[in-house]
């Protein structure tokens, strides 16, 4: 009888265990629902999804499609960071260009870019180029906006004191602006990664001849929820890993502020 209070105390002290329990319960519910209640044409239980994973990787073209998507994500992210950094600094550093161009950047950031997805396909074709371009168009704006905000928050007294101690422009950039910019730069990278994932995956799902979008359409039309769920899970895992990498980097590089 003494076990129950101790168990309760243990659970109260470790919410992570309870969280794990919730996740397990959700998977069990899914398993039960898919096994007995839902038509197997539309939903399959997690056990058979897991079991069919190796089989899915055997399908001709799946490893290649995953590789292409990963490559698109990486290239789109790298391009977003470089372009966003250049634009962010050139818009954010001179006060004049910040006043003039920031409203335009915010205007573009606010437009729903999915509406012009068909244009990207027309301009860049149905290959990887259009996915990368669409990912970049989603990724650069958060990066530009956070970099501009980071540069803007720079205390003028730091600039003045650096200048009065005889720092030249490069030294001001290297030792004052750059370290100050790092945390907001990484925040921007995290938001940019979210945008790139959204853009690339949207474009992939929209039209694709060899990538993920081709296979999701194929599995949907053939009513193969096993493979569809497996593919989605692999992609979700990829997204989580990429997000987590950038988030870790953000925490790491924002430390010096505290």
């Amino acid at each position: 009888m003494a076990g129950w209070p101790r168990f309760k105390r243990y659970m109260l002290r470790h919410p992570g265990v309870a969280r794990l329990g919730v996740v397990v319960a959700m998977f069990l519910l899914w398993e039960v629902a898919a096994r007995w209640w839902i038509d197997p044409l539309f939903m399959s239980p997690p056990s058979s999804v897991t079991a069919s994973l190796p089989e899915m990787f055997q399908i001709d073209g799946i490893p290649g499609a995953l590789r292409i998507t990963f490559w698109e994500l990486a290239v789109a992210f790298a391009m977003s960071v470089v372009i966003g950094l250049v634009f962010g600094l050139s818009v954010g550093l001179p006060a004049f260009s910040r006043r003039s161009f920031m409203p335009i950047v915010l205007l573009l950031y606010g437009t729903p870019q999915v509406t012009i997805l068909p244009l990207f396909i027309l301009f860049f074709g149905i290959g990887p180029a259009s996915k990368i371009a669409f990912g970049v168009s989603h990724g650069i704006f958060p990066i530009i906006v956070t970099i501009v905000a980071g540069v803007q928050n720079l205390k003028p007294i730091l600039l003045t004191s650096a200048k009065s101690m005889g720092a030249n422009r490069w030294q001001v950039f290297r030792y004052v602006i750059f370290p100050h910019m790092i945390p907001s730069f990484f925040t921007g990278m995290r938001l940019g990664m979210t945008g790139v994932l959204l853009g690339v995956l949207l474009a992939e799902l929209y039209v694709s001849t060899a990538g993920i979008g081709y296979f999701t359409t194929l599995f949907t039309q053939n009513f193969e929820p096993d493979h569809l769920l497996g593919l989605i899970s692999v992609l979700a895992a990829m997204a989580i890993v990429l997000n987590e990498m950038v988030r870790r980097a953000e925490i790491h590089f924002a430390r010096w502020r505290d």
Binding site: P112, L122, L198, L205
Partner: protein, 256 residues
């Protein structure tokens, strides 16, 4: 006086640069399509786009698609608000539940949910139901997270003092918890609205039978570029209008 005069001049120049930038873009568009021989299949002629835009507004042919998209949005957003706020409130009542559930929802929120669109299409079909489901799912997360944050982190002193002055459960909710949580929840709702609109138009673009996103894809597949550009401009205007309305509602709710 000299200082403000100088600032006004700088402001005027900035505005001039903005207007000049946009006008320059339009002129570039006009010149490149009319004189530099850019294919009209890639970039339609701006004057033509303008006339198509006028035509769309005049004939009112957008009404059906707009109706579909807006009703999907309304149902999805109402559903996610109801569910998100209710669940969020229930979770926020216990600090333990917050510690269990908040990281769970935050983790799920970081997965690009649009990935599940093929699954939703498989389960709910190509019709409006799959759009409602995806829009509802995507907007659910910002709403529940902000509800938990709003109700869960109310200053302890307020609650204790209200209780010690004899507030009933209802009074505590109405005069302490709700005013404290409302601004945060409204922000979450605005974010939820924006992503719901985006994801519904996006999923209409990807796989659908009707709606504004579907119309754009339909025109793109027919290579009817001028009309498609006009529709894109129309959808962007609608989205901007809706977002402005929601932001101003949020601002008004915060002020109270």
């Amino acid at each position: 006086m000299a200082g403000t005069g100088k600032r006004d001049a700088g402001w005027a120049v900035s505005r001039g640069v903005q207007v000049g930038f946009l006008v320059g873009l339009l002129v570039l568009w006009y010149v490149s399509t009319n004189y530099w021989g850019v294919s009209h299949l890639l970039l339609p002629e701006p004057v033509q786009v303008y006339w198509h835009f006028v035509d769309i507004i005049k004939t009112g042919e957008f009404l059906d698609d707009l109706n579909v998209t807006l009703s999907e949005l309304a149902i999805a957003f109402t559903g996610s608000c109801t569910l998100g706020v209710t669940l969020g409130y229930l979770i926020s009542r216990s600090p333990y539940a917050i510690r269990v559930f908040e990281p769970l929802f935050a983790g799920m929120y970081s997965v690009p949910i649009i990935l599940f669109l093929p699954l939703y299409v498989l389960i709910f079909g190509l019709g409006p139901l799959s759009k409602i489901a995806i829009g509802g799912t995507i907007s659910f997360f910002p709403i529940i997270l902000s509800t938990i944050a709003g109700f869960g982190y109310v200053e302890r002193t307020y609650i204790v003092s209200a209780r010690s002055m004899g507030a009933s459960d209802y009074q505590l909710f109405r005069y302490v918890l709700l005013p404290a949580a409302l601004p945060v929840i409204l922000t979450g709702m605005r974010m939820g609205f924006t992503v719901a609109l985006l994801s519904i138009i996006g999923s209409e673009t990807l796989a659908s039978l009707a709606g504004l996103g579907h119309r754009i894809v339909h025109l793109a597949e027919g290579m009817d570029m001028a009309r498609m550009f006009a529709y894109i401009a129309f959808v962007i205007a609608i989205a901007a209008f809706l977002n402005t309305v929601v932001s101003s509602l949020e601002a008004r709710g915060r002020r109270r």
